[in-house]
């Protein structure tokens, strides 16, 4: 019987070995289809407004792929599962996030993006033509409103060694060398309505107030070796702001957010943001975090304010215990002068900002209360013996006096000896006038009268500690 079972198992095992051949190479099709379907994409393409066919040598470019959803209408930028590659022998490189690094010599290559079974290619010219001048502020005209930021992709003229012009997006090296000049259209004065900042090869127009402005780009022409200033680019900054409010910066629901607590402890910070509600051209409205392009003010030194490094939030630091301050924020043309303010670093004034009813300005404010720093714990010793809160400590011999040392540990991780602090109170709750008594004019010192249990309650900033001693 055992033999037959063994035969059965042997044949089964042999059968399994014969049939069990993996098919990993066939998995790709189903995996790709599931990838496509999970994002509901039926076709892909390089979006015209985010794609360049000519890229300067030694520059960088971020390529993206746009997917068309199955309703044939909606599109989305595909952010994952794209496989990027370049034609064989390309000297340029691209990583799997679409970040392209152009070679240092000219070449003609093909860029391929594969998303599941969908493949899209783009012929690229890596050009060594030299930068000459900025021709356009952006590939396409755009509308922007006060307190909004708008990414711009300037278009420039390049000239090759044969004198042929190439017009394409400003390369990532040159864009960091541009000096942007902005004037008010009505009087040609230097404008405080907007500034342009380039960070990480990304250039943004930050609009601070409504009005018409003229923008120029000044840069060294590599082709001529001289500094060139572009023609005037006229731009309007609109005012479709419905309202502005202050919110806690950790609230992601911009439509319903507000400041939930206006209380901060001394030396602690509160993070806030300003939120603008805008009227869209289709009649709807939308909310934006407009902290960076808002004008902020604080009316006294009880608290101080500063932008976080990304300018998306504002930090308020409590300076003076048991005091108040008023934080004001405005979007648009405020009453206060900004002539001495570097608006590229954000606008923060040492006074309230106000609109005074101007139509191109909206403001909001919030009162801030600065409270005492809270105590997280006490470190207490009696005659140099460390004590634990409300835990009996038996002394080895009866001393004449008990001298307490009290250290407050604050919530900001700092500590301070408060034994003689006027706001610290000692209260004998057991053994009073029997075991111990207060020593006159000596805060934290008690005279020992006899043996027994002594308890002293220590109170400071709403926190307490019970000293519990057994005196022999």
């Amino acid at each position: 019987m055992f033999f037959k079972e063994a035969i059965t198992l042997f044949i089964s095992g042999l059968f399994l070995l014969l049939v069990a051949c993996g098919d990993e190479d066939k998995e790709a099709n189903l995996i790709n289809l599931h990838t496509l379907a999970s994002q509901d994409i039926i076709s892909i393409h390089f979006p015209a407004d985010l794609t360049e066919n000519i890229i300067s040598t030694n520059s960088e470019f971020n390529f993206v792929i746009q997917g068309v959803k199955s309703n044939n209408t909606d599109t989305t930028i595909i952010t994952r599962d794209i496989v990027w590659s370049l034609s064989d022998h390309a000297l340029s490189t691209i990583d799997q996030q679409g970040h392209f690094l152009a070679s240092n010599t000219a070449e003609l290559i093909t860029l391929t993006a594969q998303f599941g079974p969908l493949i899209e290619t783009l012929d690229l010219k890596i050009s060594d033509a030299k930068f000459d001048e900025v021709l356009q502020l952006n590939k396409q005209n755009f509308n922007t409103d006060m307190c909004q930021s708008q990414e711009i992709k300037p278009i420039a003229r390049y000239i090759d060694k044969d004198g042929n012009e190439e017009i394409h997006q400003l390369d990532s090296n040159t864009i960091n060398t541009i000096t942007w000049l902005i004037r008010n259209q009505e009087d040609n004065s230097t404008s405080q309505r907007a500034h342009i900042k380039t960070l990480g090869n990304q250039t943004n127009l930050h609009a601070l107030a409504a009005g018409d402005i003229i923008i120029q780009a000044k840069a060294l022409s590599i082709f001529t070796g001289t500094e060139k200033t572009s023609t005037d680019f006229n731009q309007n900054i609109g005012n479709n702001l419905n309202s502005i409010k202050v919110c806690n910066s950790d609230d992601s629901n911009l439509s319903s957010c507000n400041v939930t607590s206006t209380n901060i402890e001394k030396d602690k910070t509160l993070s806030l943001m300003s939120v603008g509600n805008y009227q869209a051209s289709d009649g709807s409205s939308f909310n934006l975090n407009i902290s960076q392009n808002s004008k902020w003010g604080i009316n006294n030194t009880n608290a101080s304010i500063a932008f976080f490094s990304d300018f998306q939030n504002l930090s308020i630091l409590g300076n003076t215990e048991s005091s108040t301050a008023t934080l004001t924020v405005a979007c648009g043309t405020i009453t206060q002068s900004l002539s001495t303010t570097d608006i590229t670093q954000g606008v923060i004034l040492d006074d309230n900002v106000s609109c005074d009813g101007g139509i191109n300005c909206m403001g909001a404010s919030t009162a801030i209360t600065i409270s005492q720093l809270s105590v997280s714990s006490f470190t207490v010793s009696a005659n140099n013996i460390d004590l634990t809160d409300n835990t009996s400590e038996t002394l080895s011999s009866r001393p004449d006096e008990i001298t307490l040392e009290v250290i407050a540990n604050f919530t900001d991780s700092t500590s301070k000896t408060i034994t003689t602090d006027s706001k610290l109170s000692y209260s004998i709750t057991a053994g009073d006038d029997d075991v111990i008594e207060d020593k006159a004019d000596s805060s934290g010192v008690f005279t020992v009268l006899g043996n027994g249990t002594a308890k002293i309650e220590i109170n400071y900033r709403s926190e307490s500690f019970i000293v519990y001693l057994e005196i022999p």
Partner: protein, 177 residues
């Protein structure tokens, strides 16, 4: 493909010899029928077509050897992707370490051939066939009034790939003749 077909044919011959070799053993023949849900699981998404799962097998003490033939009941959709499993052919060896328990547990080891049809807009319809080792566990309990009839549940990994797995959940009945 030719190599795989050769393997399958050889496997069928071996199965035939297996049946012959066990015919002299006092084995009990059984049949089982169950609706089954197949999960085609990738890193990004999953689809779950359903099947009817028919099995014929021999049982000898704690050992069972069975042939499973499954065919599609319904396909499954993920957005515009339609996935169907028209057929699954498997052979399973099952071992129950605790024969006398009221609810018997089986360790299952075998091999499966799974056909998967898929359709997607702008892409040609495809049929992919996967061959691989299958493994899993099963549970069953006999009906008190009809001891030959048992309620059974199988959880199987029909195909274990690099980035794609095919799992099976089958709940049905088994009748021992």
């Amino acid at each position: 493909m030719t190599t795989i077909k050769k393997h399958i044919n050889l496997a069928n011959i071996l199965l035939f010899f297996l049946i012959l070799s066990t015919s002299s053993i006092r084995a009990e023949v059984y049949i089982s029928l169950a609706p089954a849900l197949v999960e085609i699981d990738t890193d990004n998404a999953s689809t779950r077509p359903s099947l009817v799962d028919l099995r014929i097998g021999y049982e000898y003490h704690a050992h069972q050897l069975e042939l499973a033939i499954m065919s599609s009941i319904s396909d499954d959709n993920l957005n515009q992707l339609t996935v169907d499993v028209p057929s699954v052919n498997s052979i399973f060896y099952r071992y129950s370490p605790h024969e006398n328990e009221q609810i018997k547990m089986h360790f299952i080891l075998g091999a499966s051939q799974i056909d998967v049809d898929s359709t997607y807009p702008n892409i040609a319809d495809t049929t992919d066939t996967f061959n691989g080792v299958s493994f899993g566990i099963g549970f069953e309990e006999a009906f008190k009034s009809i001891p030959q009839l048992k309620l059974k549940l199988d959880l199987l990994r029909l195909y274990n790939g690099d980035s794609l797995d095919v799992n099976l959940l089958s709940i049905g009945v088994r009748y021992v003749f």
